[in-house]
Amino acid sequence: MNDAIRVVVIGNGMVGHHFLEALATGPAAGRAQVTAFCEEPRVAYDRVHLTEFFSGRDADALSLVESGFYERHGIRVLIGDPAVAIDRDARTVTAQSGTLVPYDKLVLATGSYPFVPPIPGHDREHCFVYRTIEDLEAIRAAAGSAEVGAVVGGGLLGLEAAKALKDLGLQTHVVEFAPRLMAVQVDAGGGALLREQIESLGVQVHTGKNTQAIEDGASRRHRMRFADGAEIETDVVLFSAGIRPRDQLARDCDLAVGERGGIVIDDHCRTSDPDVYAIGECALWGGRIFGLVAPGYRMAAVAADAIAGGGEAFTGADMSTKLKLMGVDVASIGDAQGTAPGAREYVYVDGLHGLYKKIVVDAEGRKLLGAVLVGDAADYGTLLQYRLNDMALPEHPDALILPRRDGDDLPGLGVAALPDSAQICSCHNVSKGQLCAAVAEGATTLGALKECTKAGTGCGGCAVLVGQVLNAELEKLGLEVCTDICEHFPHTRQELYHLVRVNQIKSFHELQTRHGRGNGGCDICKPAVASILASCWNEHVLDRRHAGLQDTNDRYLGNLQKNGTYSIVPRIAGGEITPDKLIALGEVARRYDLYTKITGGQRIDLFGARVEQLPQIWEELIAAGFETGHAYGKAVRTVKSCVGNTWCRYGVDDSVGLALEIEHRYKGLRSPHKLKFAVSGCTRECAEAQSKDVGVIATEHGWNLYVCGNGGMRPRHADLFATDLERDTLIRYIDRFLMFYVRTADRLQRTSTWFESLDGGLDYLRAVVIDDSLGIGAQLEEEMAAVIGSYQCEWKTAVSDPEKRKLFRPFVNSDRPDEQVVFVREREQIRPAREEELEEGLPA
């Protein structure tokens, strides 16, 4: 084709790749013959989330390139072969390998390099920068033999690097030349608070420190000497002292560059040569370099449009940022330092909770110019919108940062006040109007909205606001805030329970066909329906039609561990176990080399069994008299007991005996969430019954019953429900209480949260259970009797049924175990090998 254009892109970083995408999906797609120079050993990856490399996201997972993308679009990528020269007269680019590539349009997307201050000793071993995957690999290797690390630079990136060092287990220092942290984005007050918070996490902050030399240390590898005479010793030094544009190629071919670096571009991202473009961190627009990815993406779109003959313009970018640094929210908007003439400030400080909020407004107090938030950045989205859209401030602007109490809403605030043109997502340039249109066209869940508009899928900073726009729009469209369990059923869990019970529905498929929406299910409705079916009919969870509905723990009747193996918890009712059984358990654990630990629930957990080992192990456990402990299920877990009056000199009743009775009565009951019980033999309460879903404490005259306690994330003290009960009444109340909970709770709602949402509270619950105010008492007891009567040890059934045993094969076409499961020994037992151990040559 004679109107083909040869496009050459130098640099395959975030912005370079975005450009390739924009070009490939734009109007010039058919005409462009594209070659991309990629200096790094791999194609573009997500530098913004680079630090996640340390928390296990490998290079593949960081990749920005869909597999097959370059092939599909015929883009030639020269991996590991950097461009070394540009000849603008001949219109060619020379690669290091010698290849000569001709171009019609050239795009420079060379990014920037980390600035390393020319301190003597800066080039010693174990001194690093933080920019590429290779940098991080080197840092991780060095950290293996190090105890102390120091980061030079207390800006945004420096603090992120410090967090990474800390997570690698190093004692960490941050050294900053300026008198405060994040001097560019945050003012003095915010910086002081940030420092306090970061120091409280164990990172030592040294501000106002000018490093003069790095030399041999006495106790550590390096000593850093500062101008004021102070010094610290460290094993690793990480420079994060700013970035410099990579403009050497441009300089060499005489393109205009800025005084302090950066390739000069116009509003269409053209350099001083109209056939050469520059985008991303190497480009200088309006005298500024933009060190963030969103403006770079915008430039990429503009350049791709220009090459296709369009006229889009780059008009600058907002440099506001919001991030979480070591768990501390920090945000900075616009003129954070309040430098505009006549600017006025409002500041709110809460020393107790570590909050600092400041807004900068214009002289008339009408427009927001900037803001700084530390400790709580929830208001970021709203404040940013005020600034970006020049919205009129409320009469008392300080209301924007003062704590809101008693739910009083702010005047004129909220997404409803935003104009349609307001940009909500700056990464993907999505406006409020576009979001509203997408909602109107049917994207009525957050997931759908993100998928079709891409809003919220970049840095994620706008997610809250996107959610607010969604809710506001749904409300406008007259859609109530939805209580449906998920997109597949227009019902709550409670409604589904009734439909199953009343219509005698026995399978997910049947429920879906009769009462579902569309077809199929998901990981929300499937396990919820599986649990309802089990509560009602108690069929085996691995029956053909039920197996695929179960969460992995229920599907494999074990608890999934981080490396894909399972743990095994046999029932040890009441925590009572004979020496023989204890020995048998030990022998099985030894035979299969399982990690063995006493749980917090008075039983024993055996870890590290591979899927295909589970049936064999259980066969042996069953032979030794054990049964499943349902540690994997939303089901009755444990009934904890204290030793009681059999042995204890204070005990007033047989708590172990009652615990055993209760545990065997309710074992196998599946419920909206897990259930934990305890029985104590006297008021000293050694079994901690008042922190359980059902707790029983012996009294001189019978048993006191407590309900709806919780340990865990949000502990709740149980309520005293009834006193001095004799055994039969006690059991009847528990039957009714449990079944009423199973009927009415939401999915994954423990009894404590269920209780708190129950209208009428304790009195109502007592009326239903004790006085039978709803007239359902007998029914509840019957339903419970059916569950108790249909109990089977799930493992016993599973190992004796060949079809169910098949579910535990490692592979459908092979019996070889997964050889990527690797253990190492620690304290005489196995544990999963860590990522770095796997990389260091253990079989992978």
């Binding site: 996201r57 891409k454 498929h509 053909r544 695929g548």
Partner: protein, 129 residues
């Protein structure tokens, strides 16, 4: 019996079909792991998913890119916006079975493989090298 072929995005090279198992060996509306051995000495773990009792079968990599455990075949089969996906059993991220895209994190995509169901057998395609 009709042959149903599910083609993954971006695969247009010549394919060689490797027989994996019988259609009836696959569990109902769920996943299972399998080994893919093209015969060049390499072995890969894949996960196969069968939609209910149909001949619609998908193949994706078995490795969960977030936890690095080989477990995707043990995740729950989900439908999101009319498309089949699997929820990782470890940390619950969702991957589309059609193209491997992670719904929670666009930058992550796992490999998908073409599947052919013919005469009650399931075969997975690998690019001819």
């Amino acid at each position: 019996m009709t042959a149903s072929t599910v083609q993954s995005a971006g695969v247009d090279a010549a394919l060689r079909w490797l027989d994996i198992c019988g259609l009836d060996d696959l569990p109902y509306d769920a996943g299972v792991a399998a080994l893919l051995e093209p015969g060049d000495g390499s072995t890969r773990q894949i996960a196969l998913f069968r939609i209910e009792d149909s001949e619609q079968v998908y193949a994706i990599a078995n490795r969960d890119p977030f936890s690095h455990a080989n477990v995707l075949g043990r995740g729950i089969l989900c439908w999101t916006q009319g498309q089949p996906a699997v929820a990782s059993p470890v940390l619950k991220q969702h991957f589309l079975l059609s193209d491997g895209r992670c719904i929670e994190d666009e930058s992550v995509r796992i490999q998908v493989f073409p599947v052919r169901v013919h005469d009650g057998r399931v075969a997975v395609g690998v690019a001819e090298s």
